[in-house]
């Protein structure tokens, strides 16, 4: 009984390490230069459309509402100190440093990451990947690499759009509805937001999240058990694992950058 449970632990540990190894070789194989970079450009553009453009609506809408809520909540707290003109600073800093990169990465994992996993998992189940290999086309270059680069390019841009739209939403509620002075809103914001400290660090965060989310999604799809149940499990674990990875990494990155 005891030996059996130790053996179970060892088996799951080994399969975890083997999975990590497969994920590493997947990324390495996809990023290895294949000498046909320009031929893959149309594939990259198609994936940018699926991964980036189609995620735009959810990013813009949630960015707008999160900015508006931040502004409304911040106003009710700050007005108690007579400091409601610091609203711009609060909205801009919380969006640029935390909410922009983190929330857009979470939405991206739900919207684009799950779709990537399901697509690649179904390709595996219907043996399209094997057919590509039969035709001497490396599926890592043909399928995985364009999707990886599309994710890495899209998410930082989506995070920047999220923050910009959120600040607009905060301005809409704070200035146009609650009556904070518009000059104070922008001037306090400009005095407190630093390009290097806030904007660039937020962008670095979203690049790291983009690599992690896309990598997890591609690995889960490529590694899925090729049945309908296996694909559904892979899709679920993409969303769960990338959300946990985003939140955990965000703490580490914040401690390194602002700690």
């Amino acid at each position: 009984m005891l030996i059996k449970s130790v053996a179970n632990l060892g088996r799951s540990g080994l399969s975890y390490i083997a999975g990590a190894g497969r994920a590493g070789s997947l990324l390495f194989g996809a990023l290895k230069p294949a000498g046909r970079g320009l031929k893959l450009l149309p594939l990259l553009i198609k994936q940018l459309y699926i991964v980036g453009v189609q995620s735009l609506i959810i990013i813009v809408v949630s960015g707008l509402f999160i900015g508006m809520v931040l502004s409304l909540q911040g106003y009710t707290i700050l007005v108690g100190y007579g400091a409601e003109q610091s609203l711009g600073q609060m909205v801009a800093l919380s969006l640029l440093r935390e909410l922009g990169p983190v929330v857009s990465a979470l939405l991206f994992a739900g919207r684009a990451g799950s779709a990537l996993t399901a697509e690649i998992g179904l390709m595996k189940a219907t043996e399209q990947l094997s057919s590509l290999e039969m035709m001497a086309i490396d599926p890592l270059h043909q399928i995985v690499a364009p999707r990886f680069w599309a994710g890495v390019i899209s998410l930082p841009l989506l995070a920047a759009i999220f923050s910009a739209v959120g600040i607009m939403g905060g301005h809409l509620v704070g200035v146009d509805w609650l009556g904070v002075d518009t000059g104070a809103f922008w001037s306090v914001m400009q005095a407190s937001v630093e390009w290097q400290e806030d904007v660039v660090n937020g962008a670095i965060k979203s690049v790291i999240f983009a690599i992690v989310v896309t990598w997890i999604a591609l690995h889960k799809g490529y590694d899925a058990v090729p049945t309908s149940e296996g694909i559904s499990k892979a899709t679920t674990s993409t969303v769960v694992q990338s959300s946990l990875a985003i939140l955990g990494l965000d703490f580490v990155l914040t401690a390194l950058m602002f700690g």
Partner: protein
């Protein structure tokens, strides 16, 4: 969906992302938002501007009439504040006074402009005019210092 349309949409997505980054960048530098109305400039010298910032408001009785356009140090090391006043408010006499005030205990500092009296010797301030009667920002540390060590000159 043909590939031409996809390329177009991807291109506009990339442009939107770059525009968002530019907007975030310009927020850090000084962006000029909504400054297209006519205005004229007045200057005033203070002893101490405290926490006054460029683009702080200039108010007459609580109504915003303009913004601070620049803060610099004059040749005699006294801070010189340049104010952009909306041209709709162009009837201030040169006997007017300005003071640096704070909104609330922790709030932003702004310039309070008090219009002065009008008689035959006063003139209306125009572009480039100077307001002589100024009152500096209240600096809490100075007040505490005066309170603690007294002011033997008085």
């Amino acid at each position: 969906m043909n590939s031409k349309k996809i390329e177009l949409l991807v291109g506009s997505f990339l442009l939107a992302g770059i525009a968002a980054i530019l907007m975030l960048g310009l927020k850090v530098a000084d962006s000029q938002m909504g400054g297209n109305s006519q205005s004229y400039e007045l200057t005033a010298k203070f002893d101490n501007v405290g926490g006054l910032k460029v683009r702080s408001a200039i108010k007459v009785g609580g109504v915003v009439v303009g913004r601070v356009s620049s803060i610099s140090l004059d040749s005699d090391f006294s801070p010189k504040v340049t104010m952009e006043i909306d041209s709709n408010f162009n009837q201030f006499p040169d006997s007017s006074s300005v003071a640096i005030l704070t909104s609330g205990l922790l709030g932003e500092q702004f310039i309070g402009l008090t219009p002065g009296f009008v008689d035959e010797e006063t003139e209306i301030l125009t572009d480039g005019g100077v307001i002589e009667d100024t009152r500096s920002a209240m600096v809490l540390e100075d007040l505490i210092g005066q309170f603690l060590y007294g002011n033997s000159d008085d």
